[in-house]
Symmetry: C2
Subunit: 180 residues, 2 copies
DNA sequence: TGGGTCATGTAACCTGTTACATGATTAG
DNA sequence: CTAATCATGTAACAGGTTACATGACCCA
């Protein structure tokens, strides 16, 4: 499991609202973990019941009121426990719907498969470019932050990942073209 | 969505039972898609209701009876439609619980993080070896099969993937060791 | 006699997705 | 006037996980 812990990790950086968590997810963890807005609010309620976080309502006049969540002692412990517990075997799973499609693509003509593979490559190039931009923004915005090294590890994984995908797509396209 | 389509793809190779689908999943698609036994039986029921597959009970005397599932016309259409429909943007999502942990690892001491990263590397080396073995077995068992090229694309992705992970882990470990 | 293979599932729960709903303020 | 931003969610459904349950046959 990870969404609760992802939220816990973000709240650990300082008290936040569901709204801001949603934006934080979409702006940082999104490459390797996605969360729907509705899911975030649901998890926040569950986490408050579990005692991992506590909330406080902030009255605002110019904007809608908001609910600020803070980490409790128990929440902090849970976060550290999750980080320390080495469950790598559980965490290493790959789930890739695109590869499922490729696996069964023998049913489709080679030319179409080449097309699809080229589109895949383009998507990867685009995603790669996006991550590069994200890294630049983070670097400027969080210079000197002790967490920046770790944030950069994850985005560098993204770059390595898409570069690998592009190489694989190139090799796959070559093999398919020889089949024509 | 993909499990229903994964099952559809496998039944398309010929009529099978839930039991054999379970083994097929664990023996081929498992690297990039996992399915629980219970989930397979549930999906099979749902798919039969949808009319994608039909079933027939085979009476056996020496072994328990079994339920053979075959693809219907509608099921075949659905499979082809799913394969042709280029939803790459939907299919390209990465979800990696390990990276979520790395993202928040600033809370943990550097030495522990180096340890974790080394364990990650070992897991990847093991997974890489496993895929290599799988490829060898497939190559021998399905020589000349028209689907083999596509099956090999997916396993070669696996090899590229874990090689990339190992390189990334090495670089990460180096960076972390400089922080000590 | 104990463990593996064959073969089927159910039930409960948790997580993820999609669609819908509200309503004020502010900037173009 | 219209679209975006701020800020909250609910409801229903789909998909994934965990635990439990049964029972025969075969091999060592």
């Amino acid at each position: 499991m990870s969404l609760k812990h992802g939220i816990l990790g973000l709240i650990n950086y300082g008290p936040t609202t569901g709204y801001d968590l949603d934006k934080a997810f979409k702006g940082s963890l999104n490459f390797f973990w996605q969360a729907q807005t509705s899911q975030i609010y649901r998890e926040l309620n569950a986490m408050e019941k579990q005692g991992w976080i506590s909330s406080e309502i902030i009255i605002q006049t110019d904007k809608p009121n908001k609910k600020l969540f803070s980490l409790t002692e128990i929440g902090k412990e849970e976060l550290l426990c999750w980080l320390k517990y080495n469950s790598i075997e559980d965490d290493i799973l790959v789930r890739d719907p695109f590869l499922v499609k490729v696996f069964f693509s023998g049913e489709i003509d080679t030319a179409s498969n080449i097309e699809t593979m080229k589109m895949f490559k383009e998507c990867c190039q685009y995603a790669h470019k996006k991550i590069k931009e994200t890294i630049d923004n983070f670097e400027k915005a969080f210079e000197g932050n002790k967490n920046l090294v770790y944030w950069k590890f994850t985005s560098s994984f993204g770059l390595y990942y898409y570069e690998m995908c592009i190489r694989w797509a190139d090799d796959t396209i070559k093999t398919l073209e020889d089949l024509l």
